[in-house]
């Protein structure tokens, strides 16, 4: 029995070696099969993008009358100009919320990550567990108190209220992400700086932050993507409807559905406008963002 298996294995090994030298016909077939599978999945993943892109480039009448996956007979920017008109204010609001919210949460998160990753203090494990557990918090569970808090600060229907919420609830994720990056700063460097007479926060300012610029930028961009795409806080902490002062782009775009003033090409163009910054970020930085999130998830889990 044992011998038979050995023989089989060596046969398989020989086969594997011959494959490397001279591809056999069945390997070529296998590659063709792989390519077919890849193309099928590519169609599955890209079909919605294609439909949205094509519809957004059609004029209104053409978007209604023709098939949504056919190429436009005539390129038209009608949809984009209409969508920009409707979305302009809310896009600027979203931009402010995204930048300040991400900056706030990265700042808070990096302080916690530095203290937790490089130092020991009383109750540090408790603090870390509290932070990590907050990463998994379903926001519905704190929605009513949050709404009450924000209203009592006079920040309801105000972009600063949303910025505040994002700064606080982005903090746990930022901490776990940045803790992974700060672990790579060598302890010897910090010890050396301490010998030179630097205090804890001087080391943070002079050594840790300048040496982890790329990590900070990655975390910042990651926070930007999640805040830009987020909907729940924008929905709950701001007024809805015509009188809203602080509408964010996601909410305004969602409210397009069903209002007759907005045509299908404008809807798709609005979606593309909202998606474009994120698509660009993910094309160029996707690898770093995902590895950052994973390092966060690994330290967290």
């Amino acid at each position: 029995m044992q011998n038979d298996m050995m023989i089989e294995r060596s046969k398989a090994g020989q086969a594997a070696q011959t494959v490397r030298v001279k591809p056999k016909w069945h390997m070529t077939v296998l590659h063709v099969v792989y390519y077919v599978i890849l193309v099928l999945f590519l169609v599955f993943y890209m079909l919605p993008f294609w439909g949205a892109l094509v519809s957004s480039l059609k004029s209104n009448t053409e978007a209604i009358s023709t098939s949504p996956i056919a190429l436009p007979q005539q390129l038209s920017m009608e949809g984009y100009s209409g969508a920009m008109d409707l979305l302009a204010v809310s896009l600027l609001n979203s931009l402010v919320v995204t930048i300040f919210g991400a900056a706030g949460s990265v700042f808070l998160g990096s302080i916690c990550a530095y203290a937790l990753g490089k130092w020991r203090f009383k109750l540090n494990n408790v603090f870390f567990i509290l932070l990590v557990a907050a990463t998994y918090l379903p926001f519905q569970a704190i929605l009513i108190p949050l709404l009450n808090n924000i209203t009592s600060y006079g920040l309801y229907d105000n972009i600063w209220g949303i910025v505040l919420a994002h700064s606080i609830f982005g903090m746990p994720m930022c901490t776990t992400m940045m803790r992974g990056y700060y672990a790579e700063v060598p302890d010897a460097l910090i010890r050396q700086a301490m010998i030179d007479g630097n205090g804890m926060w001087q080391i943070y300012r002079r050594i840790v932050v300048p040496n982890t610029k790329l990590a900070t930028i990655t975390t910042f961009v990651f926070q930007c993507t999640s805040i830009w795409n987020e909907m729940l806080f924008a929905l709950v902490l701001a007024n809805q409807g015509d009188s809203a002062q602080a509408p964010l782009a996601t909410i305004v775009l969602n409210s397009f559905v069903g209002s007759t003033g907005v045509e299908i090409n404008q809807l798709m163009a609005g979606s593309m406008i909202l998606a474009l910054p994120m698509l660009i970020i993910y094309v160029f930085m996707g690898k770093y963002l995902i590895s950052g999130q994973m390092s966060g998830a690994v330290t967290a889990s």
């Binding site: 060596s10 949504p68 600063w160």
Partner: protein, 607 residues
């Protein structure tokens, strides 16, 4: 350009107006941080005695900032016609629907020492006041088409409307636009359809109930303009309070005079009748220093506190520095406090709301003990159990995504040409906002002429699936989630496979190992970490699935309601805050039961 201006205006308003407390805290933090940063340099320049001299310019600066901030809010009395009265906190508003007009004055009753609080019969004055509502009807014929483009609703200038279904049946009625709401009254049975200003959809049902149509009426609303002119009484009108002690006199020029019973003490102010509300703006308040500050009285106290803190900091500089050097972790209290208050205290608060006596259909918070009635209601509610089932159904995406991701990752690991491009492209769905995903997939699922239907038509297959029917809708949502997450999982798995040292695999190959066996025995065991985090992340998305369902279907559709959706629906559509809190508590428990052991298990395996 004007859009940008609009944004800047809003931004200015939101940032600087009436946020005394919030900006006070921020300014205090900034000032204290500045003191901390510059203390070192200042100490070198200043001797201890001159610290008090420094306090003077600081106080002056603080006062200047105070003035500046207050000038944003301050409107001189002469300009303070009652039109902008509504922005002031100490006003008394009475709505048309209420019977009595309550007036609380600043004048103290000499006997009791309390302020006067008088009530007047409100309906007396309503006869004197009218608001001119122009344009109850459209200026010229205007037709809206229903969402499915079959029926039309035509509004005529004479106040009648005509509803015609696509197949020739017609129904007529009268409409009017008043009190910011459009009301349709059917001629057939007198039934009323009403739609408010904030809603953008009009649902019309014919008298026999056969035809239900939905119209988007965003543009229609612009056809109606209500010119609300501030209205005052035509001639001086005097009200007597219900206890016949005091009088309230309204003048045609928009001022009123309140006369208390004894000694003839008087109080004057402005009033306006607008939008079915009578608003009284107390002029006395404007001259009183504290009231001028209103909520901003906070600022004065705040400035004093900041000045005191700064002086203390300068006085005890050395001690403070020594303390901070000894306890550098003290700064960590700021994020820790935020975390504990906004997450853990908030969870406790939420639990308390769920057992409080906060009344149903009410936005007014009440925090008395109300018992476990909400939980009893929740566990007896069939729609709640269907929401739980729907939430659990979403967990099915986890095995599907893991299998797809693993398969794609293995294929991508074969060294085929074009793999990097493929990897970049399959990650793109993950970059999208759930709102965008929802909108695009609405077009995919669209029954007549949607992307999916047309695509399969090109392939020669007639697709006849009603994606949004009650039975299918959860599966449609799962398909969308798989579309969004499987590529992401594949990319993570590919990275994990690449992490396995090539040497071991080559050694195994040399020993004659069969490739599938290498994957099963050598690579998969190394991927448990990545798999564990993927499961956690996917489970979180399944449990917190709110945005996608909200934009893909709607939060009111019970067939696609998950727990977050149901909670939002109870909170916003029905104002059942206590019930919503109970649902979210159940959700939290689900997260604790389903996610935490998973996290713990992956954690243990790693060590």
């Amino acid at each position: 350009m004007e859009k940008i201006q609009l944004f800047l205006n809003n931004f200015y308003k939101m940032t600087f107006e009436g946020k005394g407390a919030f900006w006070g805290i921020i300014l205090a933090a900034v000032l204290i941080a500045l003191v901390y940063i510059f203390a070192e340099r200042l100490r070198n320049r200043l001797k201890k005695k001159s610290v008090f001299l420094l306090a003077v310019p600081i106080l002056l600066l603080g006062g200047f900032v105070l003035l500046l901030v207050n000038s944003c809010n301050y409107v001189p009395l002469s300009q303070r016609t009652a039109q902008n009265a509504a922005t002031y906190a100490w006003e008394q508003t009475t709505k048309k629907s209420e019977n009595t007009l309550q007036y609380t004055s600043d004048i103290k009753n000499s006997a009791s020492g309390k302020a006067y609080e008088q009530s007047y019969i409100f309906s007396d004055i309503l006869g004197q006041l009218t608001v001119k509502e122009t344009s109850d009807h459209v200026a010229e014929d205007y037709a809206v088409t229903s969402a499915d483009e079959t029926a039309t609703l035509t509004f005529r200038p004479d106040g009648t409307y005509l509803f015609s279904t696509g197949d020739g049946a017609e129904e007529t009625g009268r409409y009017v636009y008043a009190d910011k709401a459009l009301t349709l009254t059917s001629d057939a049975d007198g039934s009323e359809t009403k739609v408010g200003k904030t809603s953008s959809k009009l649902r019309y049902t014919t008298a026999d109930g056969a035809n239900k149509k939905e119209f988007g009426i965003k543009e229609l609303k612009e056809k109606f303009v209500i010119e609300e002119t501030a209205q005052y009484v035509p001639e001086t009108f005097t009200l007597t309070s219900t206890d016949e002690a005091s009088t309230l006199t309204l003048n045609p020029d928009g001022t009123y005079v309140f006369r208390a019973a004894e000694g003839g003490a008087e109080e004057a102010g402005h009033y306006v009748y607008r939008g079915n509300e009578l608003i009284l703006a107390n002029a006395e308040g404007n001259s009183a220093f504290w009231k001028n500050f209103g909520a901003e009285s906070f600022w004065l106290i705040f400035a004093i506190v900041v000045a005191a803190v700064m002086i203390l900091v300068f006085l005890f500089q050395k001690q403070i520095k020594a303390f901070l050097n000894k306890h550098p972790m003290i700064w960590l209290l700021i994020p820790a406090a935020l975390l504990i208050y906004f997450v853990y205290v908030a969870i406790g608060w939420n639990v308390w709301v769920s057992v409080s006596d906060w009344a149903d259909h009410s936005q007014t918070a009440s925090y008395g003990w109300g018992g476990f009635g909400q939980y009893a209601k929740m566990f007896g509610d069939s729609s709640f159990w269907s929401a739980v089932l729907n939430t659990l159904k979403l967990f099915l995406i986890i095995p599907v995504c893991l299998l797809l991701g693993l398969g794609l990752a293995i294929i991508m690991n074969q060294g085929l040409k074009g793999t990097p491009v493929f990897r970049t492209l399959i990650l793109l769905p993950f970059a999208l906002s759930f709102v965008v995903t929802g909108l695009i997939w609405q077009q995919m699922f669209n029954g007549n002429g949607g992307i999916l239907v047309k695509f399969f038509e090109v392939l020669g297959v007639t697709l006849n699936i009603n994606w949004t029917s009650n039975e299918m809708v959860m599966y449609s949502i799962m398909l969308v989630m798989i579309w969004q997450f499987s590529g992401y999982v594949a990319v993570i798995f590919l990275a994990a496979i690449k992490n396995v040292p090539v040497n071991i695999i080559n050694a195994a190959k040399l020993d004659g190992a069969y490739m599938p066996r290498v994957y099963r025995k050598m690579i998969l065991p190394q991927m448990t970490g990545a798999m564990g985090s993927c499961i956690t992340i996917l489970a979180m998305y399944a449990l917190r699935s709110f945005d996608l369902i909200y934009s893909l279907t709607s939060y009111t559709n019970p067939a696609s309601a998950t727990l977050p959706i149901m909670m939002y629906n109870e909170m916003y559509a029905h104002d059942n805050y206590a019930y919503a809190a109970a649902i979210s508590c159940f959700l939290l428990v689900m997260v604790l039961i389903l996610i935490m052991p998973l996290t713990y298990a992956t954690n243990r395996r790693k060590r």
